[in-house]
Protein backbone atom coordinates (compact mmCIF):
# COMPACT_ATOMS: atom_id res chain seq x y z
CA UNK A 1 0.00 0.00 0.00
CA UNK A 2 2.69 2.51 1.02
CA UNK A 3 4.76 1.82 -2.11
CA UNK A 4 1.73 2.43 -4.34
CA UNK A 5 0.90 5.68 -2.57
CA UNK A 6 4.52 6.83 -2.67
CA UNK A 7 4.75 6.01 -6.40
CA UNK A 8 1.51 7.93 -6.90
CA UNK A 9 2.94 10.94 -5.09
CA UNK A 10 5.97 10.87 -7.41
CA UNK A 11 3.70 10.63 -10.46
CA UNK A 12 1.83 13.72 -9.27
CA UNK A 13 5.03 15.72 -9.80
CA UNK A 14 5.25 14.77 -13.47
CA UNK A 15 5.41 17.84 -15.76
CA UNK A 16 5.31 20.26 -12.83
CA UNK A 17 7.72 23.17 -12.74
CA UNK A 18 8.23 23.24 -8.99
CA UNK A 19 11.06 20.64 -8.80
CA UNK A 20 13.00 22.47 -11.51
CA UNK A 21 12.38 25.90 -10.00
CA UNK A 22 13.57 24.79 -6.56
CA UNK A 23 16.57 22.99 -8.02
CA UNK A 24 17.47 25.99 -10.17
CA UNK A 25 17.08 28.48 -7.35
CA UNK A 26 19.43 26.69 -4.95
CA UNK A 27 21.89 25.93 -7.75
CA UNK A 28 22.39 29.63 -8.32
CA UNK A 29 24.05 29.73 -4.86
CA UNK A 30 27.32 28.01 -5.85
CA UNK A 31 27.44 30.04 -9.07
CA UNK A 32 27.16 33.42 -7.34
CA UNK A 33 29.64 32.27 -4.74
CA UNK A 34 31.99 31.17 -7.51
CA UNK A 35 31.61 34.57 -9.18
CA UNK A 36 32.57 36.31 -5.93
CA UNK A 37 35.56 33.96 -5.52
CA UNK A 38 36.66 34.59 -9.07
CA UNK A 39 36.42 38.35 -8.54
CA UNK A 40 38.28 38.47 -5.22
CA UNK A 41 40.98 36.11 -6.44
CA UNK A 42 42.38 39.02 -8.46
CA UNK A 43 42.32 42.58 -6.99
CA UNK A 44 42.49 44.09 -10.50
CA UNK A 45 39.40 42.14 -11.50
CA UNK A 46 37.50 43.49 -8.48
CA UNK A 47 38.13 47.02 -9.73
CA UNK A 48 36.86 46.07 -13.20
CA UNK A 49 33.55 44.81 -11.81
CA UNK A 50 32.69 48.13 -10.17
CA UNK A 51 30.07 47.92 -7.43
CA UNK A 52 29.88 44.13 -7.59
CA UNK A 53 33.63 43.93 -7.30
CA UNK A 54 33.63 46.30 -4.33
CA UNK A 55 30.91 44.26 -2.66
CA UNK A 56 32.86 41.06 -3.25
CA UNK A 57 36.01 42.59 -1.82
CA UNK A 58 34.19 43.96 1.24
CA UNK A 59 32.44 40.65 1.94
CA UNK A 60 35.65 39.22 3.31
CA UNK A 61 35.39 36.14 1.15
CA UNK A 62 38.68 34.48 0.48
CA UNK A 63 39.18 32.63 -2.75
CA UNK A 64 39.85 29.16 -1.38
CA UNK A 65 37.94 25.92 -0.92
CA UNK A 66 37.51 26.26 2.87
CA UNK A 67 35.83 29.62 2.47
CA UNK A 68 33.77 28.40 -0.49
CA UNK A 69 32.58 25.31 1.42
CA UNK A 70 31.77 27.36 4.52
CA UNK A 71 29.59 29.86 2.61
CA UNK A 72 27.96 27.09 0.63
CA UNK A 73 26.96 25.33 3.87
CA UNK A 74 25.46 28.61 5.03
CA UNK A 75 23.49 29.00 1.80
CA UNK A 76 22.16 25.43 1.97
CA UNK A 77 21.46 25.76 5.69
CA UNK A 78 19.52 29.02 5.64
CA UNK A 79 18.32 29.37 2.05
CA UNK A 80 17.68 25.66 1.92
CA UNK A 81 15.49 25.70 5.02
CA UNK A 82 13.24 28.22 3.33
CA UNK A 83 13.32 26.33 0.05
CA UNK A 84 12.51 23.09 1.82
CA UNK A 85 9.51 24.80 3.41
CA UNK A 86 8.35 25.75 -0.07
CA UNK A 87 8.77 22.13 -1.21
CA UNK A 88 6.77 20.78 1.75
CA UNK A 89 4.10 23.46 1.30
CA UNK A 90 3.84 22.60 -2.39
CA UNK A 91 3.60 18.83 -1.90
CA UNK A 92 0.86 19.14 0.74
CA UNK A 93 -0.76 22.40 -0.33
CA UNK A 94 -1.40 21.64 -3.97
CA UNK A 95 -4.04 19.08 -2.97
CA UNK A 96 -6.04 22.01 -1.59
CA UNK A 97 -5.18 24.63 -4.19
CA UNK A 98 -5.98 22.24 -7.06
CA UNK A 99 -9.08 20.88 -5.35
CA UNK A 100 -7.84 17.29 -5.30
CA UNK A 101 -7.86 16.81 -1.51
CA UNK A 102 -11.41 15.46 -1.67
CA UNK A 103 -10.29 13.00 -4.37
CA UNK A 104 -7.29 11.86 -2.34
CA UNK A 105 -9.24 11.56 0.90
CA UNK A 106 -12.01 9.42 -0.59
CA UNK A 107 -9.54 6.75 -1.65
CA UNK A 108 -9.42 3.53 0.36
CA UNK A 109 -6.11 4.52 1.90
CA UNK A 110 -5.49 5.54 5.52
CA UNK A 111 -4.72 9.26 5.57
CA UNK A 112 -1.55 8.78 7.61
CA UNK A 113 -0.12 6.86 4.64
CA UNK A 114 -0.49 9.95 2.45
CA UNK A 115 1.33 12.03 5.05
CA UNK A 116 4.19 9.53 5.26
CA UNK A 117 4.43 9.20 1.47
CA UNK A 118 4.41 12.96 0.93
CA UNK A 119 7.09 13.49 3.57
CA UNK A 120 9.21 10.87 1.86
CA UNK A 121 8.74 12.67 -1.47
CA UNK A 122 9.85 15.91 0.22
CA UNK A 123 12.92 14.11 1.60
CA UNK A 124 13.82 12.64 -1.77
CA UNK A 125 13.28 15.94 -3.56
CA UNK A 126 15.45 17.74 -0.98
CA UNK A 127 18.18 15.10 -1.21
CA UNK A 128 18.33 15.42 -5.01
CA UNK A 129 18.64 19.21 -4.75
CA UNK A 130 21.40 19.01 -2.12
CA UNK A 131 23.35 16.39 -4.08
CA UNK A 132 23.00 18.44 -7.27
CA UNK A 133 24.25 21.56 -5.48
CA UNK A 134 27.14 19.56 -4.05
CA UNK A 135 28.11 18.17 -7.47
CA UNK A 136 27.90 21.67 -8.90
CA UNK A 137 30.03 23.06 -6.08
CA UNK A 138 32.77 20.48 -6.60
CA UNK A 139 32.74 21.13 -10.34
CA UNK A 140 32.97 24.87 -9.74
CA UNK A 141 35.76 24.39 -7.18
CA UNK A 142 37.75 22.28 -9.60
CA UNK A 143 36.99 24.62 -12.49
CA UNK A 144 38.21 27.67 -10.57
CA UNK A 145 41.16 25.72 -9.19
CA UNK A 146 40.36 26.90 -5.66
CA UNK A 147 43.31 26.34 -3.33
CA UNK A 148 42.70 23.64 -0.75
CA UNK A 149 40.31 21.45 -2.74
CA UNK A 150 41.11 17.81 -2.12
CA UNK A 151 38.97 14.68 -2.13
CA UNK A 152 39.03 14.72 1.66
CA UNK A 153 37.90 18.34 1.76
CA UNK A 154 35.20 17.63 -0.83
CA UNK A 155 34.04 14.66 1.24
CA UNK A 156 33.89 16.85 4.34
CA UNK A 157 31.68 19.33 2.49
CA UNK A 158 29.32 16.52 1.50
CA UNK A 159 29.09 15.45 5.14
CA UNK A 160 28.39 19.01 6.29
CA UNK A 161 25.79 19.63 3.61
CA UNK A 162 23.98 16.37 4.40
CA UNK A 163 24.05 17.17 8.13
CA UNK A 164 22.63 20.65 7.65
CA UNK A 165 20.11 19.41 5.06
CA UNK A 166 19.08 16.58 7.36
CA UNK A 167 18.49 18.94 10.27
CA UNK A 168 16.54 21.30 8.02
CA UNK A 169 14.41 18.35 6.93
CA UNK A 170 13.53 17.52 10.54
CA UNK A 171 11.71 20.88 10.64
CA UNK A 172 9.69 20.18 7.45
CA UNK A 173 6.80 18.29 9.12
CA UNK A 174 5.94 21.46 11.06
CA UNK A 175 5.56 23.20 7.70
CA UNK A 176 3.35 20.36 6.47
CA UNK A 177 1.22 20.76 9.59
CA UNK A 178 0.72 24.47 8.92
CA UNK A 179 -0.09 23.62 5.29
CA UNK A 180 -2.83 21.09 6.05
CA UNK A 181 -4.16 23.38 8.75
CA UNK A 182 -4.31 26.45 6.52
CA UNK A 183 -5.01 24.53 3.28
CA UNK A 184 -2.78 26.72 1.16
CA UNK A 185 0.74 27.85 0.41
CA UNK A 186 0.95 31.28 1.96
CA UNK A 187 0.74 30.40 5.66
CA UNK A 188 3.43 27.66 5.60
CA UNK A 189 5.90 29.78 3.66
CA UNK A 190 5.20 32.71 5.99
CA UNK A 191 5.59 30.39 8.97
CA UNK A 192 8.96 29.13 7.71
CA UNK A 193 10.18 32.65 7.05
CA UNK A 194 9.05 33.77 10.50
CA UNK A 195 10.70 30.80 12.19
CA UNK A 196 13.92 31.41 10.29
CA UNK A 197 14.00 35.03 11.45
CA UNK A 198 13.07 34.04 14.99
CA UNK A 199 15.73 31.32 14.89
CA UNK A 200 18.36 33.88 14.01
CA UNK A 201 17.21 36.18 16.80
CA UNK A 202 17.11 33.41 19.42
CA UNK A 203 20.41 32.19 18.02
CA UNK A 204 22.02 35.21 19.67
CA UNK A 205 20.63 34.27 23.08
CA UNK A 206 21.50 31.52 25.49
CA UNK A 207 18.49 29.52 24.31
CA UNK A 208 19.75 28.82 20.82
CA UNK A 209 20.47 25.14 21.37
CA UNK A 210 16.88 24.58 22.53
CA UNK A 211 14.99 26.30 19.75
CA UNK A 212 14.68 24.06 16.64
CA UNK A 213 14.97 26.90 14.13
CA UNK A 214 18.13 28.22 15.81
CA UNK A 215 20.02 24.98 15.47
CA UNK A 216 20.80 25.29 11.75
CA UNK A 217 22.03 28.90 12.22
CA UNK A 218 24.27 27.64 15.04
CA UNK A 219 25.66 24.88 12.81
CA UNK A 220 26.30 27.04 9.76
CA UNK A 221 27.73 29.89 11.79
CA UNK A 222 25.27 32.60 10.87
CA UNK A 223 24.79 33.65 14.50
CA UNK A 224 28.18 32.77 15.92
CA UNK A 225 31.22 30.75 14.95
CA UNK A 226 30.06 27.44 13.41
CA UNK A 227 29.52 24.77 16.06
CA UNK A 228 31.54 21.60 15.68
CA UNK A 229 28.95 19.44 17.40
CA UNK A 230 25.44 19.82 18.73
CA UNK A 231 24.57 19.29 22.37
CA UNK A 232 22.45 16.23 23.09
CA UNK A 233 19.60 18.53 24.10
CA UNK A 234 19.46 19.99 20.59
CA UNK A 235 19.25 16.52 19.09
CA UNK A 236 16.35 15.68 21.40
CA UNK A 237 14.62 18.95 20.49
CA UNK A 238 15.04 18.20 16.78
CA UNK A 239 13.78 14.62 17.13
CA UNK A 240 10.78 15.82 19.13
CA UNK A 241 10.04 18.55 16.57
CA UNK A 242 10.10 16.02 13.76
CA UNK A 243 8.02 13.41 15.56
CA UNK A 244 5.57 16.05 16.81
CA UNK A 245 5.23 17.54 13.33
CA UNK A 246 4.57 14.17 11.70
CA UNK A 247 2.07 13.10 14.37
CA UNK A 248 0.26 16.44 14.33
CA UNK A 249 0.03 16.50 10.52
CA UNK A 250 -1.43 12.98 10.54
CA UNK A 251 -3.84 13.89 13.32
CA UNK A 252 -4.97 17.02 11.51
CA UNK A 253 -5.56 15.21 8.22
CA UNK A 254 -7.40 12.41 10.00
CA UNK A 255 -9.71 14.64 11.99
CA UNK A 256 -10.32 17.83 10.00
CA UNK A 257 -13.41 18.34 7.87
CA UNK A 258 -12.77 18.72 4.15
CA UNK A 259 -15.08 21.50 3.03
CA UNK A 260 -13.04 22.40 0.00
Amino acid sequence: MFIAVFAGELVKLRRTLAPWVTLGSLMTGPLFLALFMWIVSDPGRAAQFGLLGTKASLSGIEANWVSYASYLTLIVGLGGTLLLAFVAAYVFGREYSEGTAKVMLTLPVPRRVFVAAKLLVVALWWLVIVLAVYAEAVAVGLGLGLPGITWTAAGALLGNLLLVAGISYLLAPMVSLVTVWSRGYLAPVGFALGMLLLGNVIGHTGWAAWFPWSIVPILVGSVSAPADALPVGSLIVLAATFAGGVAATMWRLQTADVNQ
Partner: protein, 260 residues
Protein backbone atom coordinates in the same frame (compact mmCIF):
# COMPACT_ATOMS: atom_id res chain seq x y z
CA UNK B 1 -34.63 0.71 8.35
CA UNK B 2 -33.96 -2.06 5.85
CA UNK B 3 -31.10 -4.34 6.86
CA UNK B 4 -29.88 -4.51 3.29
CA UNK B 5 -29.81 -0.73 2.73
CA UNK B 6 -26.59 0.48 1.14
CA UNK B 7 -26.79 3.95 2.65
CA UNK B 8 -28.75 4.97 5.71
CA UNK B 9 -28.74 8.20 7.63
CA UNK B 10 -30.48 8.77 10.93
CA UNK B 11 -31.01 12.20 12.41
CA UNK B 12 -28.11 13.52 10.36
CA UNK B 13 -27.40 17.14 11.18
CA UNK B 14 -24.64 19.56 10.22
CA UNK B 15 -24.36 23.16 11.31
CA UNK B 16 -21.98 25.90 10.26
CA UNK B 17 -22.23 28.51 12.99
CA UNK B 18 -25.84 29.64 13.05
CA UNK B 19 -26.64 28.04 9.72
CA UNK B 20 -28.05 24.53 9.74
CA UNK B 21 -26.92 23.01 6.46
CA UNK B 22 -28.50 19.60 7.06
CA UNK B 23 -31.21 19.03 9.65
CA UNK B 24 -32.30 15.72 11.12
CA UNK B 25 -32.02 13.86 7.84
CA UNK B 26 -33.28 10.28 7.64
CA UNK B 27 -32.52 8.53 4.37
CA UNK B 28 -32.34 5.02 3.08
CA UNK B 29 -30.86 4.04 -0.25
CA UNK B 30 -31.59 0.47 -1.32
CA UNK B 31 -29.29 -1.81 -3.27
CA UNK B 32 -29.35 -1.35 -7.02
CA UNK B 33 -31.58 1.71 -7.03
CA UNK B 34 -30.92 5.17 -8.32
CA UNK B 35 -31.78 7.62 -5.58
CA UNK B 36 -31.85 11.26 -6.54
CA UNK B 37 -31.38 13.98 -3.98
CA UNK B 38 -33.14 16.98 -5.42
CA UNK B 39 -32.94 20.50 -4.13
CA UNK B 40 -31.97 24.04 -4.91
CA UNK B 41 -28.45 25.36 -4.53
CA UNK B 42 -27.62 25.59 -0.84
CA UNK B 43 -30.29 23.06 0.15
CA UNK B 44 -27.72 20.80 1.83
CA UNK B 45 -27.05 18.27 -0.92
CA UNK B 46 -23.28 18.61 -1.07
CA UNK B 47 -22.95 18.74 2.72
CA UNK B 48 -24.92 15.49 2.92
CA UNK B 49 -22.71 13.89 0.30
CA UNK B 50 -19.58 14.98 2.15
CA UNK B 51 -20.92 13.34 5.29
CA UNK B 52 -21.74 10.15 3.36
CA UNK B 53 -18.14 9.97 2.18
CA UNK B 54 -16.55 10.75 5.54
CA UNK B 55 -15.17 14.09 4.42
CA UNK B 56 -16.95 16.03 7.15
CA UNK B 57 -18.30 15.06 10.53
CA UNK B 58 -21.96 15.42 11.37
CA UNK B 59 -22.88 17.42 14.44
CA UNK B 60 -25.58 14.90 15.25
CA UNK B 61 -26.94 11.65 13.88
CA UNK B 62 -25.11 9.02 11.92
CA UNK B 63 -24.43 7.71 8.43
CA UNK B 64 -24.00 4.06 7.57
CA UNK B 65 -22.63 2.86 4.26
CA UNK B 66 -22.68 -0.90 3.65
CA UNK B 67 -23.51 -1.19 7.34
CA UNK B 68 -20.33 0.62 8.46
CA UNK B 69 -20.79 3.72 10.53
CA UNK B 70 -19.05 6.46 8.58
CA UNK B 71 -16.28 8.30 10.37
CA UNK B 72 -13.43 10.43 9.10
CA UNK B 73 -10.49 8.38 7.88
CA UNK B 74 -12.09 4.95 7.96
CA UNK B 75 -11.20 3.82 4.48
CA UNK B 76 -12.10 0.12 4.61
CA UNK B 77 -15.37 0.54 2.67
CA UNK B 78 -14.26 3.41 0.40
CA UNK B 79 -12.92 0.94 -2.16
CA UNK B 80 -16.53 -0.05 -2.80
CA UNK B 81 -17.57 3.54 -3.46
CA UNK B 82 -17.00 5.83 -6.43
CA UNK B 83 -17.62 9.50 -5.91
CA UNK B 84 -17.73 12.90 -7.50
CA UNK B 85 -18.05 15.77 -5.05
CA UNK B 86 -19.15 19.21 -6.25
CA UNK B 87 -16.68 20.39 -8.89
CA UNK B 88 -14.80 18.02 -11.16
CA UNK B 89 -11.14 18.16 -10.21
CA UNK B 90 -8.06 16.30 -11.37
CA UNK B 91 -4.30 16.72 -11.28
CA UNK B 92 -3.95 19.30 -14.06
CA UNK B 93 -0.39 18.35 -15.03
CA UNK B 94 -1.31 14.70 -15.59
CA UNK B 95 -3.10 13.36 -18.64
CA UNK B 96 -6.55 11.83 -18.47
CA UNK B 97 -4.99 8.38 -18.65
CA UNK B 98 -2.47 9.17 -15.90
CA UNK B 99 -5.15 10.56 -13.60
CA UNK B 100 -7.19 7.41 -14.06
CA UNK B 101 -4.14 5.18 -13.66
CA UNK B 102 -3.41 6.87 -10.33
CA UNK B 103 -6.94 6.15 -9.16
CA UNK B 104 -6.83 2.59 -10.49
CA UNK B 105 -3.65 1.69 -8.65
CA UNK B 106 -4.89 3.03 -5.32
CA UNK B 107 -8.26 1.31 -5.61
CA UNK B 108 -6.77 -2.00 -6.72
CA UNK B 109 -8.67 -2.18 -10.02
CA UNK B 110 -7.27 -4.33 -12.86
CA UNK B 111 -5.01 -2.70 -15.46
CA UNK B 112 -7.61 -3.00 -18.23
CA UNK B 113 -10.05 -0.86 -16.26
CA UNK B 114 -8.52 2.44 -17.41
CA UNK B 115 -8.96 1.69 -21.11
CA UNK B 116 -12.48 0.44 -20.49
CA UNK B 117 -13.61 3.48 -18.59
CA UNK B 118 -12.00 5.84 -21.13
CA UNK B 119 -14.07 4.17 -23.82
CA UNK B 120 -17.17 4.07 -21.63
CA UNK B 121 -17.02 7.82 -20.99
CA UNK B 122 -16.07 8.75 -24.55
CA UNK B 123 -12.69 10.16 -23.51
CA UNK B 124 -10.65 8.36 -26.19
CA UNK B 125 -9.72 11.51 -28.11
CA UNK B 126 -8.69 13.30 -24.92
CA UNK B 127 -6.98 10.36 -23.20
CA UNK B 128 -3.47 11.72 -23.65
CA UNK B 129 -4.28 15.35 -23.02
CA UNK B 130 -3.48 17.01 -19.74
CA UNK B 131 -6.46 17.36 -17.44
CA UNK B 132 -5.76 21.08 -17.06
CA UNK B 133 -6.33 21.57 -20.78
CA UNK B 134 -9.69 19.79 -20.95
CA UNK B 135 -13.01 21.46 -21.62
CA UNK B 136 -15.47 21.66 -18.72
CA UNK B 137 -17.47 18.79 -20.18
CA UNK B 138 -14.44 16.55 -20.54
CA UNK B 139 -13.29 17.43 -17.02
CA UNK B 140 -16.68 16.23 -15.82
CA UNK B 141 -16.32 13.05 -17.85
CA UNK B 142 -12.88 12.48 -16.35
CA UNK B 143 -14.28 12.92 -12.84
CA UNK B 144 -17.03 10.42 -13.66
CA UNK B 145 -14.49 8.03 -15.16
CA UNK B 146 -12.43 8.24 -11.98
CA UNK B 147 -15.51 7.43 -9.94
CA UNK B 148 -16.18 4.40 -12.13
CA UNK B 149 -12.70 3.02 -12.79
CA UNK B 150 -12.80 0.48 -9.94
CA UNK B 151 -16.35 -0.70 -10.70
CA UNK B 152 -17.77 0.46 -7.37
CA UNK B 153 -20.90 -1.02 -5.84
CA UNK B 154 -22.06 2.45 -4.82
CA UNK B 155 -21.76 5.64 -6.84
CA UNK B 156 -22.16 8.94 -5.03
CA UNK B 157 -22.38 11.70 -7.59
CA UNK B 158 -22.86 15.36 -6.81
CA UNK B 159 -24.43 17.17 -9.77
CA UNK B 160 -22.89 14.81 -12.34
CA UNK B 161 -24.43 16.65 -15.29
CA UNK B 162 -22.54 19.88 -14.55
CA UNK B 163 -20.77 21.12 -17.64
CA UNK B 164 -22.17 18.46 -19.95
CA UNK B 165 -24.02 19.35 -23.12
CA UNK B 166 -27.54 17.92 -23.63
CA UNK B 167 -26.24 14.95 -25.59
CA UNK B 168 -23.66 14.29 -22.86
CA UNK B 169 -26.35 14.45 -20.18
CA UNK B 170 -28.41 11.83 -22.00
CA UNK B 171 -25.32 9.68 -22.48
CA UNK B 172 -24.42 9.80 -18.78
CA UNK B 173 -28.01 9.18 -17.81
CA UNK B 174 -28.05 6.03 -19.96
CA UNK B 175 -24.73 4.93 -18.54
CA UNK B 176 -25.95 5.28 -14.95
CA UNK B 177 -29.20 3.51 -15.80
CA UNK B 178 -27.33 0.61 -17.35
CA UNK B 179 -24.95 0.38 -14.37
CA UNK B 180 -27.92 0.11 -12.03
CA UNK B 181 -29.89 -2.28 -14.23
CA UNK B 182 -27.11 -4.51 -15.54
CA UNK B 183 -24.54 -4.49 -12.75
CA UNK B 184 -26.70 -3.72 -9.76
CA UNK B 185 -24.73 -0.58 -8.93
CA UNK B 186 -26.44 1.62 -6.38
CA UNK B 187 -26.43 5.26 -7.40
CA UNK B 188 -26.91 8.25 -5.11
CA UNK B 189 -27.09 11.35 -7.22
CA UNK B 190 -27.73 14.97 -6.30
CA UNK B 191 -29.17 17.54 -8.61
CA UNK B 192 -31.07 20.80 -8.66
CA UNK B 193 -32.76 19.97 -11.95
CA UNK B 194 -36.01 18.05 -11.61
CA UNK B 195 -36.16 17.07 -15.28
CA UNK B 196 -32.71 15.55 -15.11
CA UNK B 197 -33.50 13.23 -12.23
CA UNK B 198 -37.09 12.51 -13.25
CA UNK B 199 -35.74 10.65 -16.28
CA UNK B 200 -33.27 8.66 -14.26
CA UNK B 201 -34.16 8.06 -10.63
CA UNK B 202 -36.10 5.22 -9.07
CA UNK B 203 -36.76 7.42 -6.07
CA UNK B 204 -36.35 11.11 -5.45
CA UNK B 205 -35.76 12.76 -2.10
CA UNK B 206 -36.59 16.44 -2.13
CA UNK B 207 -34.45 18.50 0.20
CA UNK B 208 -35.03 22.10 1.18
CA UNK B 209 -33.16 24.12 3.80
CA UNK B 210 -31.36 20.98 4.88
CA UNK B 211 -34.56 19.00 5.52
CA UNK B 212 -35.93 16.10 3.57
CA UNK B 213 -39.30 17.43 2.52
CA UNK B 214 -40.63 14.46 0.64
CA UNK B 215 -39.67 11.21 -1.02
CA UNK B 216 -41.31 10.12 -4.24
CA UNK B 217 -40.90 6.95 -6.21
CA UNK B 218 -40.98 6.92 -9.97
CA UNK B 219 -44.68 5.97 -10.16
CA UNK B 220 -45.67 8.81 -7.85
CA UNK B 221 -43.55 11.20 -9.82
CA UNK B 222 -45.14 10.17 -13.10
CA UNK B 223 -48.59 10.57 -11.56
CA UNK B 224 -47.69 13.99 -10.18
CA UNK B 225 -46.27 15.01 -13.51
CA UNK B 226 -49.64 14.38 -15.21
CA UNK B 227 -51.05 17.46 -13.49
CA UNK B 228 -49.39 20.40 -15.10
CA UNK B 229 -50.14 23.75 -16.60
CA UNK B 230 -48.50 25.25 -19.62
CA UNK B 231 -47.83 28.83 -20.48
CA UNK B 232 -46.14 30.14 -23.52
CA UNK B 233 -43.83 33.04 -22.81
CA UNK B 234 -41.58 34.89 -25.15
CA UNK B 235 -39.77 37.02 -22.59
CA UNK B 236 -36.83 35.31 -20.91
CA UNK B 237 -36.96 37.37 -17.72
CA UNK B 238 -40.64 36.83 -17.22
CA UNK B 239 -40.25 33.11 -17.81
CA UNK B 240 -37.42 32.94 -15.26
CA UNK B 241 -39.43 34.85 -12.68
CA UNK B 242 -42.46 32.63 -13.15
CA UNK B 243 -40.43 29.46 -12.89
CA UNK B 244 -38.68 30.69 -9.74
CA UNK B 245 -42.05 31.58 -8.21
CA UNK B 246 -43.46 28.15 -8.99
CA UNK B 247 -40.48 26.41 -7.46
CA UNK B 248 -40.67 28.59 -4.35
CA UNK B 249 -44.34 27.75 -3.95
CA UNK B 250 -43.61 24.06 -4.43
CA UNK B 251 -40.88 23.97 -1.82
CA UNK B 252 -42.86 26.12 0.63
CA UNK B 253 -45.82 23.79 0.28
CA UNK B 254 -43.65 20.80 1.12
CA UNK B 255 -41.93 22.51 4.04
CA UNK B 256 -45.14 23.74 5.66
CA UNK B 257 -47.01 20.55 4.93
CA UNK B 258 -49.79 22.59 3.42
CA UNK B 259 -50.53 22.70 -0.26
CA UNK B 260 -50.89 26.20 -1.62
Amino acid sequence: MSAAAVVTTAGLTKRYGNVTAVADLDLEVRPGEIYAFLGRNGAGKTTTIRMLLGLIRPDAGEVRVFGHQVRLDQPSWLGRVGSLVETATAYPNLTVRENLELQRRLTGAPAVAVGQVIEQLGLGAAADRRAGQLSLGNKQRLALARALVHSPELLVLDEPANGLDPAGIVEIRELLRSLADDQGTTVFISSHILVEVAHLADRIGIVHNGRLVEELDRAALVAAARAFSAEQLTEQQRADALLTLELERYFLARTDGSVQ
